[in-house]
Each structure stands twice: as structure tokens, then as C-alpha cells.
């Protein structure tokens, strides 16, 4: 909530010099604003027994009442322009707070329930021969890593080349057609991607087939359009002047792309790819159909079923066995590991964009 005070300081510097209609020159101390909210909290707290409130309603009423008080107080002492400024600041901060509620509560829930089993055994053993306590998700973690790596291996070349084609070569109709297809692909529900891969392999290998590579192909259907889109945006940002500078040195177009355009855009490309990986690493539905689940470790993507973290979490939760407690714990820990993985990828993306960004050297 410190935004309120900084905003008022920031706008305070640019106060108009000449007197204006309805503009009062008073200046509220910062604590007065906090006092408004504190007062609102006290008032609402006093009304709690009367209206039988709960914590959510308490916060809601306090924010509304506090904002109103800040607005009125500012209006009477500092004038209507400052009052509007404060009102909007309060609204923006409240909206931000509202947006944070699901995120924080989700992370809190997963961490508090998943931390119990975040131990060495979880990372080192599979579920072979486990009934009840113990066991881990080594097989699922390996599966997720392998499938994600395969997906990246398939999607990144195809996606990058499509983006390069769109930005550097395609014109007119063809370009519009490809862009349209990519848009359509972006909207494909993940279960449909799974069914596609399943149907494709069922033609050749018969129904009931489960292979790691099937999952990688299903995920590629989801990942390729994301890679194309982000790479396209980044390549478009490369100034045309650099391409022309290269052409003017007698460098052919394809060399210009490989040696000038891509190196200039590498930070954005890396970030885009990493975020695309983060997007597919938690996909469940297509893997449910194409990989199934297994209790044993299988690291061969071309041979039979494989476990992955999201599917693992799903089965641990829906088919926990008796007593359910141990499997449920494992499910939460799997979810936690997945979140850590995605957050790690986001950190990597930031690191990439900082590390590879063109340096000005000043």
C-alpha cells in the first residue's frame, strides 16, 4: 500500500504554481491517509458483530470506506484535482491487491500442503512397490523433463523457422494464410491436441498405444504457435536499418538473417522459447491420453507408458488408495515441484533477456 504515499509525493512536485478555481493549497501529511484507512477498519470492525461479517467482507468494506474517506478529506483540504488523483491511486492499488489474492492464496496453499513431502525420497524413488507411505516422483520428474525436452526439440526449430519465414520472406496472401493458421492453432484446446496425436499413432500402431513421443508431439501442437508468435514479435523489432546495413556490405539475405537478425534478437527469442516451455510443462490432458501413467521409471520415449508430473498429481489425487493421506500429500508435492519448475523457467527467461541483450557499453 506504499503506492499511495509515493504517488502523492510524485505528483506533489508538479503542483501548479498559479492559483486555480477550487484549488486549495493545503497539504495533507502522509499519516493522515493511513489514518483514514485505520479509522475505516475500526468502524467496520465495530460493525462486525452487528452485521455478522467475515474476513473478506471486512477487508472489502474497509477499503471502500477508507477510499471514500481519503477522497473526501483530500477534497476538503487539497482540492478536487488532488482528490481525484488519490481516488484513482486507491482504485489502482485495490485492483492490484485483488489480482494478487488468487495468486498468493494458490502459492500459499500449494506450499503449505506440498512442503511435507518435499524430501530426498520424493526426488529419488519411484512408486514401484509403494502402498501407503513413502515413495516419490522420480519417474514423473524424469518423464516431465524428457517429454519437455523432446517437445522443445521439435517445436523450437519449426516455430523459429516459421517465424523467420513470416517476417523475412512471406508476403501478401500466403503470409495472411499462415498467420491465420497459427492463430487457429493457438486456440486449439489441449485435449484436442492429445486426441490428434493419439489418433495419428493409432493409425500406425493400433489403438491403446502409449508412447512418450506421442505426448511430445501433442505438446508440440500447443507449443509451436506460441513460439511462432513470440519469435515473430521479436524479429519484427529488429530495425530494418540493420538488415540494410548488412545488404549494403554485399551480404546475402540468408546470411544477414543468420548473422545479423537472429543475434540481434537472441535475447527476445530465448525469453520467448523459455516462456513457451513454461506454458506446456504443466499440460495434463494431452499427456493423460498419450502417455498414460506408470509407477516405474521409463526414460525411453519410444517405448510404452511414461509418468509425468501433472498426470502423476492427477492420479495420486483421484486414485489415492487407502488411506488416502499419503497419496494426497504426494499430489500436492508434485504440484509444488511443477510450480517451482515454472517459476525457475521464468527466472531463466529473465536471466536470458538480461544476459544476451545488446550492450551499449557506456
Amino acid at each position: 500500500m506504499s503506492q499511495i504515499s509515493t504517488a502523492s509525493v510524485a505528483t506533489g512536485g508538479s503542483a501548479p504554481s498559479g492559483p486555480r478555481r477550487s484549488e486549495r493549497t493545503g497539504r495533507l501529511p502522509n499519516w493522515a491517509l493511513w489514518a483514514c484507512f485505520a479509522g475505516a477498519a475500526v468502524v467496520v470492525g465495530a460493525l462486525w458483530p452487528v452485521f455478522d461479517l467475515n474476513i473478506a467482507l471486512f477487508v472489502l468494506y474497509t477499503v471502500v470506506l477508507g477510499t471514500l474517506a481519503v477522497y473526501l478529506l483530500t477534497r476538503t483540504t487539497e482540492g478536487s484535482r488532488r482528490a481525484t488523483d488519490r481516488l484513482v491511486t486507491c482504485l489502482v492499488v485495490s485492483a492490484f491487491g485483488l489480482a494478487m489474492v488468487p495468486l498468493v492464496s494458490l502459492v500459499w496453499e500449494v506450499v503449505s500442503r506440498g512442503a511435507a513431502r518435499l524430501d530426498g525420497e520424493f526426488f529419488s524413488s519411484s512408486l514401484v512397490g509403494i502402498v501407503g507411505e513413502g515413495g516419490g516422483a522420480y519417474h514423473a520428474i524424469m518423464g516431465t523433463l524428457i517429454i519437455t525436452a523432446l517437445t522443445t526439440l521439435i517445436s523450437v526449430p519449426i516455430g523459429l523457422m516459421t517465424a523467420i519465414f513470416l517476417v523475412e520472406y512471406a508476403r501478401g496472401r500466403l503470409k495472411r494464410a499462415i498467420t491465420f493458421m497459427v492463430d487457429v492453432m493457438t486456440g486449439i484446446p489441449s485435449i484436442v491436441a492429445g486426441l490428434f496425436a493419439y489418433a495419428l499413432f493409432a493409425i500406425f500402431l493400433g489403438p491403446g498405444i502409449r508412447l512418450g513421443i506421442m505426448g511430445a508431439i501433442a505438446l508440440s501442437v500447443l507449443m509451436i504457435p506460441v513460439v511462432v508468435r513470440s519469435a515473430e514479435e521479436v524479429l519484427k523489432l529488429v530495425p530494418n536499418e540493420l538488415r540494410e546495413a548488412s545488404y549494403a556490405l554485399g551480404v546475402p539475405k540468408w546470411r544477414t538473417i543468420v548473422k545479423v537478425v537472429i543475434p540481434t534478437a537472441i535475447a527476445g527469442l530465448g525469453t520467448g522459447v523459455t516462456l513457451a516451455i513454461a506454458r506446456v510443462v504443466g499440460e495434463t490432458a494431452p499427456l493423460l491420453i498419450t502417455l498414460g501413467i506408470t509407477n516405474a521409471t521409463n526414460v525411453n520415449a519410444f517405448d510404452s507408458r511414461m509418468a509425468t508430473l501433472p498426470v502423476y498429481a492427477y492420479y495420486q489425487l483421484t486414485q489415492p488408495g487407502v488411506p488416502p493421506q499419503f497419496a494426497t500429500d504426494r499430489a500436492w508435492t508434485a504440484a509444488l515441484v511443477l510450480i517451482i519448475l515454472v517459476m525457475g523457467l521464468n527466472v531463466v527467461a529473465r536471466f536470458i533477456s538480461r544476459f544476451f541483450a545488446p550492450k551499449s557499453g557506456r
Partner: protein
């Protein structure tokens, strides 16, 4: 080395839009030719058609002939990439490659084309080019720093060094000093006077004093109105253009009556 360029009946199009019409001109080797004229009259368009950069723009095409020492630049079996190796270009805004160091920027023409060259030869070439661009003394201690870290005027001289490092026959410059301060401008003008010993130089400029100072020949481009094609109105020795031009329009433009 420096070559002469003969342009005959050149029409330049953007799609269906005729931007420049009927240019006939001979550009002398080892001299500086300046092109002046109001904005939008097609100076840049004409310049870019000389090294076949014009066709890089979608819809860009050219009718007519440009011959360099007997070689038809728009001949059916001529590779535009080869033409650009012989005719270098410096742009209005300095555009060093942001991912490359000063050294790599100068060596870009060699490295990007994957030409094999011994390290010591390449070092020599980089030093020679930077000296040629009057930049060596300023950057010799920081060749491995990014080219984007230089000042605007230094960046432009870096771009000139990059252009002359591939040893072209002709150097085209499109308002090379218009984004620079007076001191950097002077540095670039001095440099042009040196470079004309080795290259044929064509420079577009908005600055008439600059044209008068540096060039031997001057061409005046003009257009009759918006949407009309630009034309080369007059092409004469610079002295004549600025003292006693043949055309009324040239005189009006030079004396500041329009444009």
C-alpha cells in the same frame, strides 16, 4: 578502384508509383558528386537504385540502364549482392551492428561473408579502414567495446570504416552528416576529401553549403508537385550550379526561394 557510372533513362518505381523519372547522368571517378533538392524528390531513391538496394523494398523496381565501367548493373545475369560489394553505402542514421564490437563492425563485411582471412591481415584491414575513416586514434584502445557505445559522429565514421573495409569502387552516402553536430560534420567532410582519392563518391545532402564545400559536380532534383515523379533538373559543375545555374528552378532553390 574508383569507377565511373553512367545512368540513362532511369525510371524508379515503388509498386505502381513512379518516384523518379528520366534520369540521365554521368558520375566521374575520383570525384565527389552531390545531389541536392527538396525532401521527397527522390534523391535517396535514386541513390539506392545505384547499388540495387532499391529492390530490397517490396514493390521496388527500376527501368533503364546503369552502367559502371562498361558493366550493366541491371543486366540479367548480374547478382545484386555482387553489385553491393562493389558499391558501398552509408546511411543517414548511423547503424552499427549492436551485437558487435568496434572491431567486429569494421570486419563485418569480411566476417559476414565468411571470407577466409588471416587474423593478422584482418587486423591490418581493420586498422587501415579505421585510419581511413579518421577514427583509429579515438578507438584504438577499445576495439573490443560495443560499437553502439560511441558518440553519434564516431558511429557514423565507424559505419564509413565498415563500408570502406570491403574496398568498394564507389561509395554512396545518404545525408551522412544530417544527424550529427557541426564538429562531427566537419570531420566527415574532411574525410570525404581524403576518400575521393580512392573512391567515386556520391553524396545526398540537404545542406547546400556542404554541397558547395565538398563536391565537384552537383545534381539538382526537383518535383512539380505531390504525387508527381522527381526529376534530375540540372547537373553541372558545383561552381556553376552555385554561381550561374542553367535552370531557373535551381537558382530559386539555391537562393532559398523555396524548398
Amino acid at each position: 578502384m574508383a569507377k565511373r557510372i553512367d545512368v540513362s533513362d532511369l525510371n524508379i518505381y515503388y509498386g505502381n508509383f513512379l518516384a523518379v523519372e528520366g534520369v540521365n547522368v554521368s558520375i566521374e571517378p575520383r570525384s565527389i558528386t552531390a545531389l541536392i533538392g527538396p525532401s521527397g524528390c527522390g534523391k535517396s531513391t535514386f541513390l539506392r537504385s545505384i547499388n540495387r538496394m532499391h529492390e530490397v523494398i517490396p514493390g521496388g523496381r527500376v527501368e533503364g540502364k546503369i552502367v559502371m565501367d562498361g558493366q550493366d548493373l541491371y543486366g540479367p545475369d548480374v547478382d545484386p549482392v555482387d553489385v553491393r560489394r562493389q558499391i558501398g553505402m552509408v546511411f543517414q542514421r548511423p547503424n552499427p551492428f549492436p551485437t558487435m564490437s568496434i572491431y567486429e563492425n569494421v570486419a563485418a563485411g569480411i566476417r559476414l561473408n565468411a571470407k577466409k582471412m588471416k587474423k593478422s591481415d584482418l587486423d591490418d584491414l581493420v586498422e587501415r579502414s579505421l585510419r581511413g575513416a579518421n577514427l583509429w586514434i579515438e578507438v584504438k584502445d577499445r576495439l573490443n567495446r560495443p560499437g553502439a557505445g560511441l558518440s553519434g559522429g564516431q558511429q557514423q565514421r565507424l559505419c564509413i570504416a565498415r563500408a570502406i573495409a570491403v574496398e568498394p569502387d564507389v561509395l554512396l552516402m545518404d545525408e551522412p552528416a544530417s544527424a550529427l553536430d557541426p564538429i562531427s560534420t566537419l570531420a566527415i567532410e574532411d574525410l570525404m576529401a581524403d576518400l575521393k582519392e580512392r573512391f567515386t563518391i556520391v553524396i545526398v545532402t540537404h545542406n547546400m553549403q556542404q554541397a558547395a564545400r565538398v563536391s565537384e559536380q552537383t545534381g539538382f532534383f526537383n518535383l512539380n508537385g505531390v504525387g508527381q515523379p522527381g526529376r534530375l533538373i540540372e547537373f553541372n559543375p558545383t561552381e556553376k550550379i552555385f554561381s550561374n545555374p542553367d535552370e531557373k528552378a535551381t537558382e530559386d532553390y539555391i537562393s532559398g526561394r523555396f524548398g
